[in-house]
C-alpha cells in the first residue's frame, strides 16, 4: 500500500538509526563498566548527583528565559519593522545574518566580546562611566548564566523578529484600515488585531524555541564549557561530560534516560495537547 512506501519506509530509517539505539542506550544504563548487569544501581547514584539536578535547573531556567525574551523582543521588533513604510526588505536580509552564524562560532565570538580585560562590552561600559571595575561576565556563576542567556537571545531574536515580520505581512491591510476607521489607536490595533491573529505563530515559534533551548549544547560548549564551577552546565553538556569525559558510558545513559523521560513525558505531552487544542 502507499502508506507503507510513503510513511513507514522513510520513518523506518529514523527508527532504525535513532530510536532503536535509544532503546539500546536504556539497556546499557542497567550495566556497569565491565558489562555486568547491575540493575538500578546507576539510577540510585543519580539521586545524590547534585550536579545533575543543578544542570536540570539551569537548563530549564535558561530555556524559559531565552524563549520568553526571544518571543517578547522578537515580536516587538517584528511588528515594529512591519509598520515601517520603507526598509523592510533591507531588514529581511540583515536579520538572516545572525541566524547563519553557527553557535560554535557565535560562542567563540562572544568569548572575545565578553572577556573581562579585553572585551568590548567592558570597554564600552567603563568608557561611559557606568562601571568602575571590569565585570567578569564569564567568571562569576550568576553573571555567566546571564551572559549565556544574553548571548542566546542576541543571536536568535532577529530570526524570530523576521518570522513575525513575514507573519505580519500576511495580515490583510483592510483589517487595520477598518480598525482605524473605528478609531483604534496604534496600541489597540496591536492588541486586538495583530496579537490574536499571530496567536498560533507565537505558540509555534515559542515551542520550537523552547525545545531547541532545552537541547542547549553548542553554545555552552564554545562559550563557557560549563562555566565557572559547573554553573552553566546544561543537561546535554553534563551527559556528554559524564559519558565521554569520564568514560562512564553507563552512568551517562542512565542520566540521559531520565532526561528523556522528563522531556518526552512532560514537555512532549503538553506540546501535543496544546497543539491539539489549537487545531480545533
Amino acid at each position: 500500500m502507499t502508506l507503507i512506501v510513503m510513511l513507514l519506509i522513510p520513518f523506518s530509517f529514523f527508527i532504525i538509526s535513532h530510536s532503536i539505539p535509544l532503546l539500546y542506550g536504556i539497556y546499557l544504563s542497567f550495566m556497569d563498566r565491565n558489562g555486568n548487569f547491575i540493575g538500578l544501581e546507576n539510577y540510585a547514584h543519580i539521586i545524590d548527583d547534585y550536579r545533575f539536578w543543578g544542570s536540570i535547573k539551569f537548563t530549564f531556567s535558561y530555556a524559559i528565559a531565552s524563549t520568553l525574551l526571544n518571543l517578547a523582543f522578537g515580536l516587538f521588533i517584528g511588528v515594529f519593522i512591519s509598520s515601517l513604510k520603507r526598509g523592510q526588505n533591507l531588514f529581511k536580509a540583515i536579520f538572516l545574518i545572525p541566524w547563519l552564524i553557527p553557535l560554535t562560532v557565535w560562542g567563540l565570538e562572544n568569548r572575545i566580546i565578553f572577556s573581562r580585560d579585553f572585551g568590548i562590552i567592558n570597554y564600552v561600559l567603563s568608557s561611559l562611566g557606568l562601571i568602575k571595575g571590569m565585570i567578569p561576565w564569564l567568571g562569576e556563576p550568576i553573571l555567566a548564566q546571564l551572559s549565556v542567556v544574553i548571548t542566546d537571545v542576541y543571536k536568535n531574536v532577529w530570526y524570530v523578529a523576521l518570522l513575525f515580520l513575514v507573519a505580519c505581512q500576511n495580515i490583510p491591510r483592510d483589517l487595520y484600515e477598518v480598525a482605524q476607521l473605528d478609531g483604534a489607536t496604534r496600541l489597540q490595533m496591536f492588541r486586538y488585531v495583530t496579537l490574536p491573529l499571530l496567536r498560533r505563530n507565537i505558540l509555534f515559534i515559542g515551542l520550537m524555541l523552547f525545545i531547541f533551548a532545552l537541547q542547549g549544547f553548542d553554545l555552552i560548549y564554545s562559550l563557557t564549557y560549563g562555566g565557572p564551577a559547573f554553573s552553566t552546565h546544561t543537561v546535554a553538556l553534563y551527559i556528554f561530560r559524564r559519558s565521554l569525559h569520564y568514560g562512564d558510558y553507563e552512568y551517562g545513559t542512565a542520566i540521559s534516560t531520565i532526561w528523556v523521560i522528563i522531556l518526552f513525558g512532560i514537555v512532549g505531552t503538553t506540546f501535543a495537547l496544546l497543539s491539539r487544542k489549537l487545531m480545533r
Binding site: T2, M6, L7, P10, F11, F13, F14, S17, H18, S19, P21, L22, Y24, G25, L28, I77, L84, K92, I94, L96, I97, P98, W99, L100, I101, P102, L103, V105, W106, L108, E109, N110, I112, D117, F118, Y123, W158, L162, V166, A167, P196, L197, N201, Q215, F217, Y221, A236, I239, F240, L244, Y249, S256, W259, V260, F264, G268, F271, A272, S275, R276
Partner: protein
Amino acid sequence: MLEYLKYIKIIIMVIMLVIVLFPLYWTFNYSFLPEKDTVSYPPIFFPSYPEHFTLEHYLVAVTKYPVLRALFNTIIIISIASVITLILSLPPAYVLAKLDFKLKEEIYYFIMALLTIPWVSYTIPLYEISRTLGLIDTHILLIMLYGFSGIPLFTWLAFPFIKSFPEDLIDVSRTFGLSEVKILFLVVLPILRNALISLFILRFVWAYSDLLYQLIFTIDKAKMINPAVLEFPGLYEMPYARMASGGILTVLPLLVLSLIFHKYIISGLTEGMRITA
C-alpha cells in the same frame, strides 16, 4: 510631533542595524588585526593598513589547521545529508496532509512528541554501535546520521506547506490514475519548489551549525568544521585574531549560500508563517 516620530523611527532603525551587524563586523575586524592589537586597550575598531592589518591569520588558519579540509568535508556531507532528509521527510508529510487513514492524528502527534527527545540521548548508544561497526570518523556515517535525524522535524515542518496545496490538482491527478508517489513528486513538489529550496537551506544551515554529532563522531579523516574551529583557542594566549579568522571562514559558505538563495528563504518563511484565524 509626528515628524519627530519619523526621525525617532529612523534612529531606531539605524541602531538596530548596528546592533545586528556588530558581532559579525567585530569578528571580521579582529581577523585582520595583528594578534597583539587584539588585547590592546582601548580596542582597535578598524584594521587600518599598514599598521593594523595582516592576512597572516587566514594563512595560518588554512595552512596549519585542517580548516579547508573540514570545510570541504562539511559541505559535501551536509549537502548529501540534506537531500536525503528531504527525500525521506516529504512522503510522510504528504501522507499526513493529504491522505486519510485510521490513526492519522495519533501518528501525527507521535511524530511531534518524537521531536522532544533530546539529541544527546542518541549519541552514546550511537557511538557504541558505530564503533563496533567501525564507522567512526567516516563520511558515510555522518551522512547517515544527519540524513536520518532530521526526518521527524522536517516531516512536521513540511506538513503545513503540503496541507495548503490545492486539493483539486491532486484530485485531477488521481483521476488520471497517478499513484500517490507520482503525484507527490511530479505534481506537488514542482509547484512547491520555493518551499522545497527553503526547507533544504534550512536543513543545511541547521546541520552545518550542529556541534554534537560533529564533535563526537569525527576525529581526523572526516573532520568537520565546528570541532575544527573550536581547536583555534590556543594554550599560550587567547589568539582572538586567529579565532576570528576561523569564525569568518566557517560562516563564509553559509553567507554565500544565503546570498544566492535569499529570495527562496524569505518566500519559504512567508509561506510557513501564514496566519489562520
